[in-house]
């Protein structure tokens, strides 16, 4: 399991980069979902988002999941190319497969890498 140390993590398996404001889903989440075949970003540039509200929806061959905002703020960019390449979530969850970028607002309930790794291990038992 890949868990970059510079990122923050949520209990619902999103990652959040405090330096850039980018958001995506974790390596653990993509491996649980298996092959991802569809992704839809549910917010537009300029939208105001609240922590815990759905920002995207992904569909794999076996499940569908909503992706929630890890913090509140204003959306400054959405990854428009991702819809044509949903498999990037499986191959590069922390890089190419970022979903939205946002700024400002209040941080939600997030963990650091070590705490998230521990949280994932607990769930796999």
């Amino acid at each position: 399991m890949n868990t970059p140390a510079n990122l923050k993590y949520t209990k619902s398996d999103e990652w959040f980069d405090p330096a850039t404001g980018k958001v995506g889903i974790t390596d653990y989440a993509q491996s649980q979902l298996s092959d991802i075949v569809f992704v839809e970003i549910l917010v537009d540039e300029g939208d105001t988002i609240e922590a815990g509200k759905a920002i995207a929806s992904v569909e794999s061959v076996k499940a569908s999941a909503e992706i929630y905002a890890p913090a509140g703020g204003k959306v400054v960019a959405v990854n428009k190319g991702l819809a044509d390449k949903p498999e990037a979530i499986n191959t590069d969850a922390f890089g190419e497969a970022w979903m939205i970028q946002f700024e400002g607002g209040s941080a939600g309930d997030v963990m650091d890498a070590a705490a998230y790794e521990k949280y994932c291990k607990e769930r796999s038992h």
Partner: protein, 449 residues
């Protein structure tokens, strides 16, 4: 597989678990005197007697196969059905099979649905077809669901053409109540609008425009420009099409439609008593994840053999669950199979021939009717159905026609008070020249009378 659900042993185990001694104990709450009330039924009949009575009742019906000549359409059409269609539908493998969830034992049903989908995509000129809906009206309502989901509820207005089938409009209303959708376009004064003028009502709150092809009044328009205009305003267009007409006219897919739906009844399905029917639903590849129902795909199994599976089941039973865009997850499998058999037997040329026969006969009827004093056929390009203006209320004329064994046209006054003396006449390949001539003869008597 046995259809006996439980063994006596299993039943006793269940009774013990719920804490009763016998099945009868479960009915204790119902007072004894109400459990087996006297039903006052007549004495039982023998099979021979029952058959005699039922045949008598059945023979009291009049039907378009032997008793009556029909010029009634308005959504259901009297076409010839090759006998092979019924033979295929009655095969036990198709007749009794239900949902093909288990591809290992459902290859025949799955392949049949796959063929149906391929035929519908080809006919409409669209990328993908689902495995079908109940009928044309419910398929139209599902188009609204798709458009609503496509804009994630940010656009809440649906513009339905005034010349959309009035019953389809009603079904869309019933289906979408509670979604806080606004529907527009049904003012009777809008009936005179050209498609382009109608499309000018699209605004930035409109998610979908629905037009019919040929429209409810039988008229054929090229919607290319309308679709361009609606797309420029950011909304989607659904075309409700008659599948027979698609064999000779431009496909809605080539006009740029986003969704093409319709009723499959003209494709080898009897009119019965108005149903059951089958609704086809086709769309563009990029919207397939928002499409209701199910979709069968072709793949390769572990031994490299061609195989079929339910491939996109992002429905509320499987993947999407409460986030699904529709609560429809079934299809009209047997009847969809009927249309696939019909299309396969006729082929591309055969279907075109049916369409041309309908077209030529309808145009002969229109031309001759226009010559009869007191009657007038509406202007415009049409396929196999047209509006006839009559010298008296359509209901009176139809009553007179019925005395001569003819079912007349659809009385437009039922839905449009301003069209009280107008009827919609449908002519198909089933109507002989002699029948058309008789219709004209009887109608001219009405005027003289």
């Amino acid at each position: 597989m046995t259809y006996i659900p439980i063994s006596p042993k299993e039943r006793d185990a269940m009774l013990e678990t719920v804490g009763v001694k016998s099945l009868d104990d479960l009915f204790d709450a119902i007072p004894v005197k109400h459990r087996f009330p006297k039903l006052n039924l007549p004495a039982a009949l023998t099979e021979m007697e029952a058959m005699d009575e039922l045949s008598g009742l059945a023979n009291a019906n009049e039907n378009v196969r032997s008793d009556l000549v029909s010029f009634l359409g308005a959504g259901m059409y009297n076409h010839y059905i090759p006998s092979v269609v019924d033979h295929m539908l009655r095969r036990g493998e198709f007749y009794t099979a239900y949902t093909p969830y288990q591809p290992e034992i459902s290859q025949g049903t799955l392949q049949a649905i796959f063929e149906y989908q391929s035929l519908m995509s080809a006919l409409t000129g669209m990328d993908v077809s689902n495995a079908s809906h109940y009928d044309g009206a419910t398929a139209t309502a599902e188009a609204v669901n798709l458009a609503f989901a496509q804009y994630r509820g940010k656009r809440r207005k649906v513009l339905m053409s005034p010349s959309l089938h009035p019953q389809y409009r009603e079904v869309v209303r019933t289906y979408t109540q509670g979604m806080e959708l606004e529907s527009a376009g049904d003012a009777e004064s809008d009936l005179e609008l050209s498609p382009e003028a109608f499309a000018s009502q699209v605004d930035d709150n409109t998610c979908l425009v629905i037009v019919q092809y040929p429209d409810f009044f039988g008229r054929v328009y090229d919607y290319t420009k309308l679709i361009e205009d609606v797309h420029a305003k950011g909304a989607l267009v659904c075309v409700v099409a008659n599948p027979t007409a698609l064999a000779m006219f431009k496909t809605p897919g080539s006009m740029g439609a986003d969704i093409v739906v319709g009723d499959g009844q003209p494709l080898g399905i009897p009119m019965w008593y108005g149903g059951p029917s089958v609704g086809f639903f086709t769309t563009r590849k990029n919207m397939v994840h928002k499409m209701a129902g199910r979709l069968v795909g072709e793949t390769i199994d572990s031994r490299g053999q061609r195989a079929y599976v339910l491939t996109l089941t992002a429905r509320e039973q499987h993947i999407k669950r409460e986030r699904a865009t529709s609560n429809i997850c079934t299809n009209q499998g047997l009847i969809a199979l009927g249309t696939a058999v019909y299309l396969s037997v006729l082929g591309k040329k055969g279907l075109r021939q049916v369409a041309e026969l309908c077209y030529q006969k309808a145009h002969y009827a229109a031309r001759e009717l226009n010559k009869v004093k007191g009657y007038k056929v509406s202007d415009g390009t049409f396929f196999h159905e047209f509006v006839l203006e009559c010298p008296a209320p359509a209901s009176e004329i139809n009553a007179h026609l019925l005395e001569h064994g003819i079912i007349g046209g659809y009385d437009l006054g039922q839905d449009f008070p301003s069209l009280a003396n107008q009827m919609l006449i449908a002519v198909t390949e089933m109507n002989t020249k002699q029948e058309i001539d008789t219709l004209i003869e009887v109608l001219s008597e009405v005027d003289h009378g």
